[in-house]
Assembly symmetry: C2
Homo-oligomer: 430 residues x 2
């Protein structure tokens, strides 16, 4: 069997690896438009900040790994056409037969309509080439503006501060991390960032970038503008070929498109929202690798399903961890879902130990079924995963309010903050 993968990012590369783990014999080939192997895009801001020593470190799979895994890699070639009838992928002057095809075409950066957006002082931050340009410029500049207060925008702003560069973030919406957080929680992050030297202007649209950045409210001087306003699914090829798309490429639970023997995974694919059942994008590395695994199972003759997502995400900015899973208030409102909330502000450990702040917010429906959780503080990794499991199991805040958890003074509180927040939400049920 010959498996051709269009796209060599996290999704495409992981699909290749997962297939190889299950199938020693098939030919596996990745065709990547970019001229480089897979790297960790999530790590880019941390190279900029100096937390990671260089960009090469982000390329965790070396050439030998591909050779050892017998994964063919064609770099710098763009697939122009695919003949589904004859099962042929076309790039440059080459035609290549496939038995199974995987579209892992990823995403591109969304660029808001701003005058002067093609100016030299602007970098749209999406891939490692962009990151390298920012890295280069960082050595010479004093003031930067970041457009977009999403994860990457804030992580990039953090990197500027770490390089002693004055930075301002401009966000069109009314809060930072607008996809992850409700306004009350976002306000806490905003203040934390302010304390660390990141100014952010919210509810503000950038209109023009000339000598200065002109928003609908003010002008901001700067030497560099980084645009980080989210990503969109790369569906050009799919659309051209008549593959069904919506926000992204449509796939079934087996990661199959509507065309026989054509699969898709990663940023280019549309997911289903666990809470609402509606289509939603989930352009996370974790989603890509989980989809790749499901796809590999199905391609190699086993059975697996990719389920609806909660878009569980996390970051750390200046030592403060910020996590989110499931529904946030804004989306609940849009979907017409009435929610009740519970918010607990407390500490990570008993008062006699050295400890940090932790703030947990829980969203539940009117019956108490937990729908979402946002946490800001310390030691969040497992906590976000616990909240994710609670939502996926459709647990009730009443039940969670008195559920079992672990405690020891050096690591946690006698009362778990997640469940105290559930308790507060549960009280509103009565």
């Amino acid at each position: 069997m010959k498996i051709v993968i269009v796209g060599g990012g996290a999704a495409g590369t992981r699909a290749a690896i997962e297939i190889r783990k299950r199938d020693r014999n098939s030919e596996i080939l990745i065709i990547n438009e970019k001229n480089y192997r897979e790297y960790s895009p999530c790590g880019m801001p941390f190279v900029l900040s100096g937390d990671v020593k260089n960009f090469e470190a982000l390329q965790t799979l070396d050439k030998k790994f591909y050779e050892k895994m017998k994964i063919g890699l064609i770099l710098g070639k763009k697939v122009k056409n695919i003949d589904f009838q004859n099962k042929k992928v076309m790039y440059e002057n080459t035609e290549m037969y496939y038995d199974k095809l995987i579209l892992a075409t990823g995403s591109y950066a969304f660029v808001p309509p701003i005058e002067g957006v093609d100016s030299e002082k602007i970098i749209v931050f999406k891939n490692i080439d962009d990151a390298k340009k920012i890295h280069e410029k960082m050595k010479r500049i004093k003031k930067a503006v970041v457009i977009g207060a999403g994860l990457v925008g804030l992580e990039t702003a953090y990197a500027f501060v770490k390089n002693n560069i004055n930075v301002t973030v401009v966000e069109m919406l009314d809060r930072v991390l607008p996809v992850m957080l409700d306004k009350d929680m976002a306000e806490i992050v905003k203040k934390h960032l302010e304390n660390k030297g990141i100014k952010s202007y919210l509810n503000e649209k950038v209109l023009e970038i000339g000598k200065k950045v002109r928003t609908d409210t003010r002008e901001i001087e700067c030497d560099l503008v980084v645009i980080s306003s989210g990503v969109r699914a790369n569906t050009d090829l799919a659309k051209k070929l008549g593959i069904e798309t919506n926000y992204g490429i449509k796939v079934n639970e087996r990661m199959e498109t509507n065309v026989k023997d054509v699969y898709a995974c990663g940023d280019c694919v549309e997911c289903t929202d666990f809470i609402t059942g509606n289509p939603i994008m989930s352009q996370l590395a974790t989603t890509a690798v989980r989809q790749a695994k499901v796809l590999a199972e199905n391609i190699t003759g086993k059975e697996a399903k990719f389920g609806p997502v909660l878009n569980t995400s996390i970051t750390e900015l200046f030592g403060l961890e910020i996590g989110s899973t499931g529904l946030i208030a804004e989306r609940a409102e849009k979907e017409g879902i009435k929610v009740l909330t519970g918010k607990y502000r407390g500490k990570t450990k008993p008062e006699y130990m050295e400890r940090k702040d932790i703030i947990v917010k829980i969203l539940a429906d009117e019956e108490g079924t937990i729908l979402g959780s946002q946490i800001i503080g310390k030691a969040l990794v497992g906590r976000m995963d616990a909240m994710c499991l609670a939502i996926l199991n459709k647990m009730n805040v009443k039940n969670l309010a008195n559920i079992e958890y672990c405690y020891a003074p050096p690591v946690s509180q006698e009362f778990e903050p997640m469940y105290l927040a559930c308790d507060i939400a549960a009280k509103k049920l009565r």
Copy 2:
């Protein structure tokens, strides 16, 4: 209504608080045999180690708090008898009427049959008086032996090392933390402790304590012996009064004993094992406070149930966190449950970030239902809680192997170690 609580530890005190939160008017009275208010016993080893400044810090509720909550407190009085017919509690020359009675009589230290166990150089470590004695002695001694490699034993050994005291742990069973860990996982902890200066002799019984500690294998010189060999439920009063007991006081889901209007909670109470349905003790602070809440709901006319337990527990020793929830191999074997396991040894973060080791072991039944999890590493708090939720929801390792989780390079790996361990277990299902 008059509510009398026998016992002023975590369980009794929490019961009082939770009842008061729900009932402003009833009279609430705690009768405590000890001459002091509630403190955090879990914090004691960390006062000894110097992580907590003094013992007073462990008493997180001050006198004013009891006054403000209108919780009466009688200290240093032992309840000798209770007349269930006339609903009277008797102590010294006093008889006191109750409407509802709560037994929170706690536990006592188990002392193994050792010759010379009443010697001056021995301290049985259970309560704060014992801790203070150890604290006092620590200033003068050079060599200590701890009998028992459970949580408190190892935490005490840690405290000795922090005070530059040579320490040896002697454990009768074949591993450290025998209630929490399987042998392979315990071995990792043992080595870690060795590197930090704690010697431990396993499979070794202490026979006699004289000038030296004599085990069935060797003699060990020392200036102080701390016995920390587990606790047993304090059921003397209950038994004397004809209340049903087994390992501990028997209660139903509402925390009621077999006697009308008599409840019980905390270390003196027997629980049900979630996995096997058999009676099990759960002498954890978290169990006590969760039971207190259920009890308070029921006493104040609401409905709540206390469910079966997993005995989720955790500690940190020299920066290494150790957690456990649910079934361990030894108990599975005793119960005749065949288990399959998955063990993942990896890192907490991507290779380009500063990171620590993490080792996850998963136990599942032959259908793949997760039954237990042991983790050693960093950032375990939420992870243990996630594993606890997975078990309580009877999730399958096959499902967990590809479940959603959070990832960002500064805080976690692209692949979550918990679920990688589940994946390894799931592969054994095929």
